[in-house]
């Protein structure tokens, strides 16, 4: 096997995996606290991408686009928490799940009605190689996604390991009632978790838009199911397991599309992995 090919496949897998990790990370965070599968998270991701696109169109600034993507996503995420998930607390989780699927579909259709069914471009960055490592050309868009993801992951790590907020989240995830009894304001901390999760999704949406130079109302469809698979693979609610599962899935997809793409579509890797894990390791790859 050619070394350059392996290099290209690994790089490509890491870039795609980074975006999976960022999107699924927020989902894991929300699941850890609320124990619901927040399918509408993929809708938040698409709305974030559109906010970034609007901001880029008005300002031609990538920084503003990322900020607007995060801000739009945070607003939507916090709104969903306060007006949708909170009123459903105490109801069977299936109700929140079904409602969440409905919200996801509504978000996609709302984007279609507002901005049309066509794709839009987000030409913030060139995709011509910037430099080459061992014959593997690296593009500015790839550097942007990899560095952006690294910075955000370090930020999330710092919040969860070093701040009182992170401590509060972990205690709520471990035992909601005892955490409440210890005086932790659960609605406030849940809202903050939604804010962080949504910001990550919004930024991921803008990154995907820049990486592929396109956004579309249907852009959440693939993440909607794939992030669920990643969250389960990572061990439901296990934040770092989810990040690892996202990166791993990106790399496996990349290699499988090169060597078995004709017989085994890369889109199915997530589900085959999911079935195998549920059969043999139902707590997830990294679950305890």
């Amino acid at each position: 096997m050619d070394g350059t090919l392996i290099g290209y496949l690994a790089l490509d897998g890491l870039v795609v995996g980074s975006i999976y990790a960022l999107t699924a990370l927020g989902l894991a965070l929300v699941y850890g606290l609320l124990r619901v599968l927040h399918v509408a998270h993929a809708g938040v991701y698409a709305v974030g991408a559109y906010c970034g696109w609007l901001a880029y169109g008005a300002s031609h600034s990538l920084v503003l686009a990322l900020a607007a993507g995060a801000a739009g996503a945070v607003l939507l995420g916090v709104f969903l928490d306060a007006w949708f998930y909170r009123p459903l607390a105490g109801k069977p989780p299936l109700i929140a799940l079904i409602g969440s699927i409905g919200l996801f579909l509504a978000a996609g259709d709302l984007l279609r009605i507002l901005f049309g069914p066509y794709q839009h471009s987000l030409p913030a960055m060139s995709s011509n190689p910037l430099f080459s490592v061992g014959g593997v050309g690296v593009t500015p868009t790839q550097v942007f996604v990899l560095c952006g993801t690294l910075v955000l992951l370090l930020g999330v790590y710092w919040i969860s390991a070093r701040t009182r907020l992170g401590l509060a989240w972990r205690s709520i995830a471990q035992d909601r009632e005892i955490a409440a009894a210890m005086g932790i304001d659960i609605p406030r901390h849940t809202a903050l978790a939604f804010a962080l999760a949504s910001a990550l999704a919004g930024v991921a949406g803008v990154m995907v838009g820049v990486y592929y130079n396109q956004i579309a109302p249907t852009m959440g469809n693939e993440p909607a199911y794939k992030t669920l698979a990643i969250v389960v693979l990572g061990g439901l609610g296990n934040v770092w397991g989810t990040v690892a599962a996202g990166l791993l899935l990106g790399v496996i997809e990349s290699f499988s599309s090169a060597f078995a793409g004709n017989y085994f579509p890369p889109q199915s890797v997530a589900f085959v992995a999911l079935i195998l894990v549920l059969l043999f390791r139902p707590q997830g790859l990294f679950g305890r």
Binding site: L5, Y118, N262
Partner: protein, 378 residues
């Protein structure tokens, strides 16, 4: 009180509606306006409405105004069947434009055929849509024909070996089959052939393998959003072989999404942007004015489908399904905005001209016209 008012309103208005309806001809349209294919559905419907406005402004068909009845089939065969029945039973459509994807069009075609309602498929490619359905016709180029033109073009561009990247659906398979049947005749070796699923965004791994074969050209089937990624990623990999696409690429959106990587891409298609034909110029201008964006190939095929049906009705001098069908089958040399149709074959598929367009400085331009009847016959 309100209910009484409403009742009076209905009683007064109903006869008015009925009178108006007598003077119109109901034409059914099935198109995907929501779901994954919504962009194509919108292009097609915008164009069909445009063609209808033009026809109505010139006196309609047989002196009656066309009234469109449009249903959103979401490119879903189940929905298409439901709406096809409704068009037949409730709306009494006199003829139908099938402006949806192959699956949905294939499901609806037998229903119209059984009820002797002529149907014109705009851009669906599946061969079985017309086969055994004497009332069902097609206005678009057949996939295998387009594939063959692709091979002729590759040879003209000096390629002796070609790498094929095929979309894994009926469109991609029809093109692949046509290209592979013509390639040996053109002295072209297929150096590489692989397929990808619809909606694929990442072509890097496939393109790296393509690069290793040093092909003289790349024949890549697909729709513009996927194709934009393909040509961008080919450029990132410094692949210099020319890329040959088809009418699936034929949208200004392709150029927007692919950016500078679109330059130098060739496509085999039906809408000639450099045409000086008055109806093509009118269509391009009117579409831009109505939709606020430039027209694409799907739009042109929707427009052509309506144009052709209106002419067939006029030729038949009647709205009777059988008369319209016979008129269509005997029509020769029909100019449309999507190419010149020599005639329809026994299946109802067109033998028509094609064009090769190349993108230069972010615009589609004519590279050559294809008029070789042997090559163009399905």
């Amino acid at each position: 009180m309100l209910r009484k008012l409403l009742l009076i309103l209905v009683l007064v208005a109903a006869p008015l509606v009925a009178v108006q309806a007598q003077g119109t001809v109901t034409v059914g349209v099935l198109a995907p306006l929501t779901g994954f294919a919504a962009a194509d559905g919108k292009s097609a419907v915008t164009s069909i409405e445009l063609a209808t406005q033009t026809i109505n402004a010139h006196g309609g068909i047989l002196g009656r105004q066309i009234k469109l009845k449009i249903y959103d089939d979401q490119a879903d065969p189940k929905q298409a069947v439901n709406f096809a029945r409704r068009l037949v039973e409730e709306d009494h459509a006199r003829f139908v434009i099938g402006a949806s994807y192959s699956g949905a069009t294939l499901a609806a075609a037998p229903i119209f055929n059984q009820n002797h309602i002529p149907m014109m498929a705009a851009y669906a490619v599946a061969p079985d849509i017309t086969k055994g359905h004497p009332y069902v016709f097609r206005v678009g180029l057949m996939g295998p024909v387009e594939g063959r033109i692709g091979a002729v073009l590759a040879r003209k561009l000096g390629a002796h070996s070609v790498a094929m990247i095929n979309l894994k659906n009926d469109f991609g398979q029809a093109l692949e089959q046509g290209f592979k049947s013509e390639a040996p005749k053109q002295g072209i070796r297929i150096a590489f052939s692989d397929a990808y699923p619809l909606g694929n965004q990442n072509f890097t791994s496939m393109l790296v393998r393509v690069k290793m074969h040093h092909p003289g050209a790349i024949y890549a089937s697909g729709y513009y959003s996927d194709a934009a990624n393909l040509v961008r990623q080919a450029k990132s990999l410094a692949i210099r072989a020319p890329i040959i696409g088809q009418d699936g690429y034929d949208s200004p959106k392709f150029i927007e999404l692919a950016g500078s990587a679109a330059n130098g891409v060739y496509i085999t298609t039906q809408l000639d942007r450099d045409s000086r034909q008055p109806d093509v110029e009118h269509f391009l201008r009117a579409y831009q004015a109505k939709a606020g964006e430039p027209a694409d190939m799907v739009g042109a095929s929707g427009y052509a489908a309506m144009e052709v049906m209106a002419r067939a009705v006029d030729k038949a001098g009647s709205l009777d399904g059988n008369a319209v069908r016979q008129a269509l089958a005997s029509m020769k040399d029909v100019n449309t905005v999507a190419g010149h149709i020599y005639r329809w074959n026994e299946n109802g598929d067109p033998i028509k001209t094609a064009t090769v367009q190349v993108i230069r400085n972010g615009h589609f331009h004519r590279y050559m016209s294809v008029t070789d009847r042997t090559l163009l016959t399905p």
